[in-house]
């Protein structure tokens, strides 16, 4: 799950930063008066750090661009014609053209808004966010997603839209029609 990866990666990287600061804090007490040799060594380490970052972050940056949720790239290769759901956000409800879709077959959500900005977030039965896009007046964002498990999914608003923002929920059932 993407969220789990993001969390663990963040913890690892934040811990590495903390270790760096902790190491220096512990080794700050005894002074080396001649700063120049220390500086030269530190610059050499910095070069290595820089190239390590380039070597790690560069491929990660490119690799994560390979599966973008835009256009036809996501779920486009799945079998079968797309099931189209027209989704319109209103203050404070969702209007869906259908509330049942079939599993393992692409769903194309055409998301827009009738009034102000909303966010169309799809949550699975365990209340984990599986996909989202913004709902904006005057624009239609096309979100393609293929559900791989049956169940009742919830639609939550992901962009603050006023007093009942937190109540702007709907449901979509995934299973046999």
């Amino acid at each position: 799950m993407m969220q789990e990866i993001a969390w663990q990666l963040s913890l690892v990287l934040m811990t590495l930063v903390a270790l760096g600061f902790g190491f220096v804090a512990i080794n700050s007490g005894v002074r080396v008066e001649d700063y120049t040799p220390l500086q030269k060594r530190a610059y050499r380490i910095r070069s290595k750090l820089f190239w390590t970052l380039v070597a790690v972050l560069g491929p990660a940056m490119i690799y994560t661009l390979l599966d973008l949720p835009y256009g036809t790239s996501r779920a486009g290769h799945k079998a079968g014609p797309a099931q189209v759901v027209e989704a319109t956000g209103h203050q404070w409800r969702w209007e869906l053209s259908r509330d049942r879709v079939v599993r393992d077959q692409p769903v194309e959500f055409r998301v827009t808004s009738a009034d102000i900005n909303h966010g169309f977030g799809i949550y699975d039965a365990d209340m984990h966010l599986v996909a989202q896009t913004q709902a904006m007046p005057g624009y239609t964002n096309t979100l393609r997603h293929t559900f791989t498990a049956d169940g009742t999914y919830r639609i939550l608003c992901m962009e603050y839209c006023g007093i009942a923002h937190h109540n702007m929920m709907s449901e979509i059932k995934v299973g046999s029609l």
Partner: protein, 495 residues
């Protein structure tokens, strides 16, 4: 390569203007922290304010914190920059006066007009109130932001004038002759380089912000004048991103100026430093599409640009500023007091917060984490544990009664309370974001409450610790304005 040696610069007290800025910043910061605590307590269902109050407080907290971060950052920058260029105290004070007028307008719009469209005021929400606030309340809020923006623009124009008067142009003030031609070791000091960068980006950002506010004010009274919502969103996030990031780039000047005084080691503008600040000038302005990654209709090349710059942007933070602090502190014999501790902590906070931030800027991650509590998780890390810690370090430095005064146990306890509280508070947000808890919800689902309750506890610790920092500063205002040596000589350093 040019040779850099430490040159001692005497510590100076703050002017009455800087103290007025810092006094205002500390008072409003505490108030806004309390508002933030109330929001977490409401989400945790420990108190019951109701959704209306929650969203009003949320709007106040967002606008108040962004504004006060700007004021605190400006105080740090102005205090140190005046060592190098001739600034206008009158314009500096005019900015504070306009800020206070703007704050009064914003508070009026929220408390009396019940405006609650969030500090992001996304078009066309202010004019589509569904009966929750009046046209006047919306105008008062956006007018207040506009007044504050005009004040900051004036201040930055004065800084631009002063920098150009001293260095000739922005290119020289950014050290481009040393960066691109020959590094003779005479590049402008880090404070000037940072101030130039902030001035460039904030002038552009504030003009864009003022433009969209003006357009929306016109729309409020002439609905037939419509605005493209995507354009409005792009302009708002451009302005918002630039302004809030600039607060960190202003506050970090305290680190560049104070840590060398504590370590008696130089923090000079060498080529790597100059390259990173020039790159940051561009990156801060062009990264803003990472706020729009879930707007699929936005030009895709700009979204990919936001993704890429998100990764690139972490490099200067980690490799130049964060690493630079580690370099001058390592085996320096630095004496740890409240100022040096907080400034060192602040760079950890900035660097650590950049990690979940760039991860969030990855499009495929943003797809399942945008507008969850992951977002306040990362920005509170680099703002609270980073930017705010820089400001607290600065006020402890200003108010330090003498070079070798040992702080009381209460201050040290507050430091550890602030550090652990801020870490716990931000990690509770990040964990909740991992669990998909949606952002800006007045009412949370039962399964989300444990994270809210933990977050409330840590937030209370942050507020209590900050109260001690602020009270200590107010008790030392007299000393903060006088010129005398504050930074202690490092242990074992040649006098």
């Amino acid at each position: 390569m040019a040779n850099y040696t430490y040159e001692h610069t005497p510590d100076r007290g703050a002017t009455a203007g800087v103290l007025a800025y810092l006094g205002t910043a500390c008072a409003v910061l505490l108030l806004m922290m309390l508002v933030g605590l109330l929001m977490r307590l409401e989400q945790a269902q420990i108190i019951d304010l109701g959704a209306n109050w929650f969203y009003e407080l949320m709007t106040l907290h967002g606008a108040g914190m962004v504004g006060i971060a700007g004021i605190a950052g400006a105080a740090v920058m102005w205090h140190f920059l005046r060592q190098y260029v001739e600034l206008s105290p009158a314009i500096f004070m005019a900015n504070l006066a306009l800020f206070l007028v703007g704050v009064a307008m914003i508070i009026g719009s929220i408390v009396f007009g019940h405006f609650h469209a969030a500090w992001t005021f996304l078009y066309p929400m202010p004019s589509k109130a569904m009966g929750m606030w009046s046209q006047e309340a919306a105008a008062l809020f956006m007018g207040g932001l506009l007044v504050i923006g005009v004040g900051f623009l004036l201040m930055h124009l004065d800084i631009a004038r002063a920098i150009i008067a001293r260095y000739g142009n922005f290119a020289r003030a950014l050290g481009w002759p040393q960066l691109f031609v020959h590094d003779d070791g005479k590049a402008p000091p880090p404070t000037v380089v940072a101030s130039t960068m902030v001035t460039i980006v904030n002038i552009v950002g504030l003009v864009v912000g003022a433009s969209i506010l003006t357009m929306m004010l016109v729309n409020l009274y002439l609905p037939e004048f419509t605005i493209d919502p995507m354009l409005a969103k792009g302009m708002i996030y451009f302005f918002g991103h630039v302004f809030i990031n600039a607060t960190i780039y202003m506050a970090v000047i305290a680190v560049y100026e104070i840590l060398p005084r504590y370590t008696q080691r130089p923090w000079k503008a060498n080529r790597v430093f100059l390259a990173s600040w020039s790159a940051s000038t561009l990156m801060v302005m062009f990264i803003f599409p990472h706020h729009l990654l879930m707007d699929f209709a936005f030009p895709q090349w700009m979204l990919i640009m936001g993704h890429i710059i998100g990764y690139l942007n972490t490099v200067p933070i980690l490799v130049v500023t964060g690493y630079g602090a580690l370099m001058i502190v390592f085996r320096s014999g630095i004496r740890w007091d409240m100022a040096s501790r907080l400034l060192f902590l602040s760079l950890f906070g900035w660097a650590a917060g950049a990690m979940p931030a760039f991860i969030d800027g990855t499009i495929t991650v943003n797809y399942v984490m945008h507008n969850t509590l992951w977002v306040p998780g990362h920005f509170h890390t680099y703002l609270l544990l980073g930017m705010v810690a820089m400001v607290f370090g600065f006020i402890y430095y200003l108010g330090k009664p003498a070079q070798h005064v040992r702080e009381s146990w209460l201050d040290r306890a507050a430091f550890w309370g602030f550090t652990s509280g801020a870490l716990g508070f931000t990690l509770s947000f990040l964990y909740a974001g991992k669990e998909s808890v949606a952002r800006r919800y007045a009412v949370h689902l039962p399964e989300w409450l444990p994270y809210d309750r933990a977050g409330s506890l840590f937030a209370a610790l942050v507020v209590a610790s900050s109260l001690i920092f602020v009270l200590r500063f107010f008790s030392r205002l007299g000393a903060a304005g006088r010129d005398y040596a504050r930074a202690p000589l490092a242990q074992g350093a040649a006098a």
